[in-house]
């Protein structure tokens, strides 16, 4: 079975002539959310379903994924940990701070944290980064997937607090959380404009693509902060 590494810690497996996205399972034998486990050459892989993960979809949409094995990641909108578990697989020497707002969802996420040593759970509102600024350190990558109307603003204030000077912001923008009526294209344009010049920090957008067919009306985006010399 051919295995190809698409990006650091992210693999493409060929099974019965069908390609499958996967990460190496940090806890062999343990399936997190019912996903398939495949063993090849003594290594166990976990299937990564791009239709259940914005990050997974971004991989298949050929984004340059800035995650390395030793990255520090701040993950905003961790939900019950489907994607976080794959990030955890990738960060064999790194750490992911997983922020989630709903106590009910955090309950499931904590069960995942109990098994995996590189996830740090934080029950908090991503709108209020000051409430977890005591704990979270500077991050190489901020990944954000929150279903709120002010997605760009949340990205900006968290980047101000936590993004390393040369770090990357990865964003999944859901148009329907911002406006249920307006056209997604128009919403995406406006959100990109905000990121580029709408706040007191500015971003350089490196890549942007819609995440269809995996996720309808979602834009994937990777950006870097402009480093302000005055600061």
């Amino acid at each position: 079975m051919p295995v190809r590494e698409l990006s650091s810690g992210i693999y493409e497996l060929d099974i019965d002539d069908r390609k499958m996205l996967a990460t190496r399972n940090m806890i062999p034998g343990m399936s997190v959310y019912g996903e398939r486990l495949i063993t090849e050459d003594d290594t166990e892989y976990r299937q990564w379903d791009p239709s259940r993960s914005k990050l997974g979809a971004m991989v298949l949409k050929n984004f340059d994924i800035p995650l390395k094995s030793d990255s520090i990641v701040l993950y905003l909108g961790a939900a019950s940990g489907t994607t976080v578990s794959h990030v955890s697989d990738i960060l064999t020497d790194g750490l992911v701070y997983a922020v989630e707002f709903s106590p009910r969802t955090m309950r499931d996420l904590i069960q995942l944290c109990d098994q995996r040593p590189n996830i740090i759970p934080i029950l908090a509102d991503a709108n209020k980064p000051q409430s977890y600024a005591h704990i979270v350190e500077k991050a190489d990558v901020i990944f954000q997937d929150v279903a709120q109307p002010n997605q760009a603003e949340i990205a900006a204030i968290n980047s101000k607090y936590f993004l390393e000077e040369h770090g990357h912001l990865m964003l999944s923008i859901k148009s329907r959380s911002i406006d249920t009526v307006a056209s997604p294209k128009k919403i995406f344009k406006e959100e990109v404009r905000k990121l580029e010049s709408g706040f007191d920090i500015e971003f350089e957008v490196l890549e942007r693509k819609e995440l269809e067919p995996f996720h309808e009306d979602h834009l994937g985006l990777v950006a870097k902060m402009f480093v302000d010399d005055e600061e």
Partner: protein, 310 residues
């Protein structure tokens, strides 16, 4: 960096500290400077931990404890009532479906009975075969002349067991209702007095919490529940909703149609005030009810007759 000595390495205590810091800084964006000491560096520098990995392990332990402790605190008084309301809805739906099955099943043996729901379940549970219906029972004549088949013993036992299950569910339903009534009286006494326990609980459930309900403008309170019916209407073929659930209050339901809009607005305003009073003080304020009654009476007197047709 002498601060280090102030803390010991007990993760439990550190977790408490994390929760405290989080709570205290939540409402104040300026409370934490952007340029702040890196906790990891500081901890390593002052020797609080020796290695990077030690820091990771401790931090994770502390954060998991903090999150768990925050979760265990989400079992608030209003959230318990909301759970009960949701359980009530589930029981209603399922006991109805099971009752329909009993109706279909027992109907083979006593089709003339014309009972449904709890009444039917109690009847089957009490008598089983219609040959057991006592002579002085009002169904006695129908039972003896029924076109239904003879109910064999094995089937009778099955039907009675099933009917007993349904009766128990109706009992539990009533038990939960009482629980909601009692709890509402202490958790949200004003909401309970103005809207009634059941409607008040349902409003909290639909808003998500007492806090959220208290934060709604009264115009929103007036249509809570309508959007749910609207979704239902869009998905299936249910009729399109006209009003929110506050229209189930007798004040509105029993009023003539031309007064309903005005009465609903007045009621919603006081429900909103009641929720706020409950959330911020928790004490019963009888003046809300007095003001509401006055306002309702005023509306009734000012609009005694239906408006002219245009």
């Amino acid at each position: 960096m002498e601060d280090c000595d102030l803390f010991d390495k007990d993760p439990e205590k550190l977790a408490e500290l994390v929760v405290q810091l989080q709570e205290s800084s939540k409402e104040n964006p300026q409370s934490v400077p952007l340029q702040r000491a890196d906790l990891r560096d500081a901890a390593l520098e002052c020797g609080f931990v020796e290695l990077d990995e030690d820091y990771d392990i401790l931090l994770r332990d502390v954060c998991i404890r903090a999150a768990k402790s925050q979760i265990s605190q989400t079992d608030t008084d209003d959230s318990r009532i909301i759970q009960a309301v949701e359980a009530l809805d589930d029981i209603d739906k399922n006991v109805n479906e099971l009752s329909e099955r009993l109706f279909e099943w027992y109907g083979r043996y006593f089709p003339e009975l014309e009972m449904t729901g709890e009444e039917l379940a109690r009847f089957v549970s009490a008598y089983g075969s219609r040959t057991n219906v006592p002579e002085d029972h009002e169904m006695s004549e129908k039972a003896s002349s029924s076109m239904g088949a003879e109910l064999l013993f094995a089937d009778e036992e099955l039907l009675r067991t099933f009917a007993n299950n349904i009766c128990s569910l109706y009992d539990t339903r009533r038990y939960i209702e009482n629980y909601i009534n009692t709890s509402m009286g202490s958790v949200a006494p004003n909401l309970c007095e103005i809207a009634g326990a059941s409607l008040g609980a349902r409003l909290m459930s639909m808003a998500g919490s007492l806090e959220k309900l208290a934060a709604f403008p009264s115009s929103t309170v007036q249509v809570i529940g309508a959007s749910r019916a609207l979704f239902k209407h869009l998905r299936s073929r249910a009729p399109s909703p006209k009003h929110g659930i506050i229209f189930n209050n007798p004040v509105i339901k029993n009023a003539p149609w031309w007064q309903r809009g005005k009465l609903a607005r007045a009621l919603a305003a006081k429900i909103s005030l009641a929720a706020r009073t409950d959330f911020y003080s928790g004490e019963l304020d009888p003046s809300i009810k007095e003001a509401l009654d006055k306002k309702l009476e005023h509306i009734r007197q000012a609009n005694p007759n239906p408006p002219e047709r245009k």
